[in-house]
Amino acid sequence: MTADTRNSALDAATGLPPARTPWEETWRLLRKNRLAFSGLLIFVIFFLVAVAGILLTAGSRPVLDPAQVRLQEKLLPPLSLPNHEVLPPEALPPLGRYLLGTDDLGRDVFARMLQGAWVSLTVGFVAVGIAVIIGIILGGLAGYYGDQELEVGHLLVWTTGVIAAFLLLTNRPAGAAAAAAASAVIWIVMRRERSLYEGPPSRRRWFTRGLVSVDTLIMRAVDVMLCFPSFFLILTVVALLPASLYNIMVVIGLTSWMGTTRFVRAEFLSLREQDFVAAARALGIGDMRIIFRHIMPNAMAPVLVSATLGIATAILTEAGLSFLGFGVPPPHATWGNILSDGKQFIFDAPWLTFAPGIVILIVVLAFNLFGEGLRDIMNPKLRERN
C-alpha cells in the first residue's frame, strides 16, 4: 500500500478534502498563472529544440550541416532560396531554404543556431545554478550566523581539515589521516576549553579568542571577488585549465555568486529578526530547517530576478571567451559566437546579430516570467485567492 492510497483512504474516512502535496499545489498554481506557465512552456520547447539540435547537427553526415561552407552563397537574408546552379547537390540546405539566412562563409545560420542551442542553454543555466547555490548558502550563513565570532581554533580546525581533504584528493592517505586527526584534536580541545572556562571574552585563552565574525569573513570575500574585473578573472582561470565546456560553466558560476550573496544576506538580516523566526525556534525547530525552509522562501524574490539576468550574462560571457579562443573551439557554433561574429556585418546582414540576439532575449524573458511566477507562488500574499 503506497502512502498515496493510505492518504486517500484516510481522506475518505474523515471526509476531509484530499490533501495536496506541496509539489501538486505548486504545479496547480503554476498552471493557473498564465504568464509563468507560458514561460515554462517556452523553456521546455527550447530544451527540446536544443536536444534535437544535437541529434540533427552531430555526426559525420548530419541532417543539417552547420559547418558546410558555401562561399558563393554568403550573407544571404533569411528565407532566401539556394542557387541550384552553383551548388553541388550535397551542399544544398535540406530544408530547401536558408531559414535564417547565411553568414559570411555561406554557412546556414539556422543549422548553426541549432548546434549552439545546447551549449548556450547549459552554460547559462549551469553557471547561474552554481552561482545561485553558492550565493544562497554563503548569504544565508552570513545573514543568519553573522554575529558569531570565528575563533582562532575554528580557523585551525578548518585549515587542517582542508589540508586533509587536499591530501586525500592528491592520493596521500597517511598525510590526510594525520591532518584529520590534528583537526579533531584541536576541535576537542576547544570544546573542553569552552565548557571549563566561563568569563568575559577578553580573558579567554588565545585559541578560543574571537578573531573575525562570520559576516566579516564572507562579505569581505565578496568584496575581494568584486574587486577583480570578472572577465579577466575568468580569462586567467580558463587559461590555466584545459579548454572544456564544463570548465567554462564552473568558472563562470564561481565568479558570479557575489550579487546573490549580498541579496540573500540583506534579506536574512531583516528576516531573522522577525517574530516568526523566534516562534519557530521556540517550537524547537532546528537551525538548518529555519534557514532553508522558513527564511529562504521569504528571501527568494531578489535572487530569482538577479538569476534571470545572470543567464543572459553567462551566455554572453561564454561568447566573449569563445571569441578570444578560450571557450568552445571555433568551428562549433554557440549563440554567443554567432552574435559576436555577426557584429561586423550588422549593416549588411543584420540577421546574423538578430537571430541569436532575439533567441537569447526570448530565453531570458521566458525564464524571467517563470521566475516571477515562481516568486508569486512562493509568496502567498502576491497570489490571487482561488
Binding site: A3, R6, N7, L10, T14, L16, P17, A19, D147, E149, P200, P201, Q274, D275, F276, A278, A279, A280, R281, A282, L283, G284, I285, G286, R289, R293, H294, P297, N298, M378, N379, P380, K381, R385
Partner: protein, 316 residues
C-alpha cells in the same frame, strides 16, 4: 542574566525566583522594559548568547537543570514540553506557509508520526482552539486570518505536542478587548483540559485578576512582590505594586485623573544603588538608597521587598 555589549554590563534580570506548578497559572507583571520577556526567553533558551550571558542561578524544569543541558537536548524540550505563545500574532506566523503546514511541522519535528496522522492532529488542534471549519482553515495563509484567529493558530502551534508548560508573552496585547476575553477563556479551558501550567507575562492587571493563581511583580529585573491575587490586589505591601494598582481606572475613581508613577524604569545598565525603585518611590528613606531590600515575608506565600512598609505595618 547579564548583557555584555559595548559600554557597561546591562543586568537585565537580577535576582528573581519563582516556581510554577502543574495546572497553575502564574502571572509575571511589570512595566515595559523590566525584564519580563528576557526571563521568558531565558527559560526557553532563546537568548542570543553573546551578547546575553546567564551569570548565575538555575532554571529547573521537572527536576532537570536546563542550563546544564546540551543545546540539542534543550531544543527537543522546546516545543515538546515547553512552548511559547508570542505577543504579535501578525508577525509570529511565517507568511509563506499555511497555518496547517506550520502546525504540522511542529508535530513532525518532535514526533515520529505519519503525514496523515499529523494532519488529523492539526485539524483537531485547530478545532480545540475554536477555529471554525478547521479542515479548510488549515490551508489558509496567515494573512487570510484575522488577528484573533492568528493568535488561536499560534496557540494551536504551541499546543501541538501537548506541552507541560506554556509561556504566554503578552498574548492578548495586540488584540482588542472582546477578542482578548475569548483568548483568555480559551487558555483557561485548554489548561483545564490538558493539565498544563501557564506562565503568563503581561502588564495588564485586569487580565491578571481574571486568570492568575499566583502573581509575581517585577521591577527593573527584580522580583519586588509575590503572592496570590487576593494578597496582591487587597493587601499589596510594595510601593510599586501599590502604584500600579492606583494607576488602574476603577468605578470609585470616576471623574478623577488617573494616578501615574513619576519617572521611568531605569536602564538595566544604570540601575540605582540600593532599592531599584527608590528614585520613583513616595515612601523612600535614606537607607533605601544604600541597601538592597530583602524579601519581607507576610506569610502564606506573600512577600514584598520593602522593609519600610513592613515597619509601617502596611500602607497608611
Amino acid at each position: 542574566m547579564h548583557f555584555h555589549g559595548e559600554g557597561p554590563v546591562a543586568r537585565a534580570v537580577d535576582g528573581i525566583d519563582f516556581q510554577i506548578h502543574r495546572r497553575q497559572t502564574v502571572c509575571i507583571v511589570g512595566e515595559s522594559g523590566c525584564g519580563k520577556t528576557v526571563t521568558a526567553l531565558a527559560v526557553m533558551g532563546l537568548l542570543p548568547m553573546p551578547p546575553a550571558r546567564i551569570a548565575g542561578g538555575r532554571i529547573l524544569f521537572d527536576g532537570r537543570s536546563l542550563l546544564d543541558l546540551p543545546a540539542d537536548q534543550w531544543r527537543t524540550l522546546r516545543g515538546r514540553r515547553i512552548a511559547m505563545v508570542f505577543q504579535e500574532p501578525m508577525t509570529s506566523l511565517n507568511p509563506v506557509f499555511t497555518i496547517g503546514d506550520q502546525i504540522r511541522e511542529t508535530i513532525l519535528a518532535h514526533e515520529a508520526l505519519k503525514e496523515a496522522q499529523a494532519r488529523l492532529r492539526t485539524i483537531s488542534l485547530l478545532n480545540d482552539v475554536g477555529i471554525e471549519d478547521p479542515e479548510r482553515r488549515a490551508s489558509d495563509y496567515p494573512h487570510q486570518l484575522s488577528g484573533g484567529q492568528r493568535q488561536r493558530a499560534m496557540i494551536a502551534m504551541a499546543l501541538a505536542c501537548g506541552p507541560d508548560l506554556i509561556i504566554a508573552d503578552e498574548p492578548t496585547t495586540a488584540l482588542d478587548v472582546t477578542v482578548q476575553a475569548q483568548i483568555l477563556h480559551l487558555l483557561q479551558r485548554l489548561q483545564a483540559d490538558k493539565q498544563m501550567a501557564i506562565q503568563y507575562i503581561t502588564h495588564d492587571l485586569s487580565v491578571v485578576s481574571a486568570i492568575a493563581d499566583r502573581i509575581y511583580v517585577m521591577y527593573a529585573g527584580v522580583m519586588v512582590e509575590q503572592g496570590n491575587p487576593g494578597q496582591i490586589f487587597q493587601q499589596a505591601r510594595h510601593p510599586y505594586t501599590r502604584a500600579l494598582l492606583d494607576a488602574l481606572p476603577t468605578k470609585e475613581k470616576r471623574g478623577q485623573r488617573l494616578a501615574t508613577i513619576p519617572g521611568t524604569v531605569p536602564h538595566p545598565a544604570y540601575k540605582p544603588s540600593g532599592c531599584p525603585f527608590h528614585p520613583r518611590c513616595g515612601f523612600r528613606e535614606p537607607a533605601c538608597e544604600r541597601d538592597f531590600p530583602q524579601m519581607c515575608d507576610y506569610g502564606d506565600g506573600h512577600g514584598a521587598r520593602c522593609p519600610v512598609i513592613q515597619r509601617m505595618g502596611g500602607f497608611p
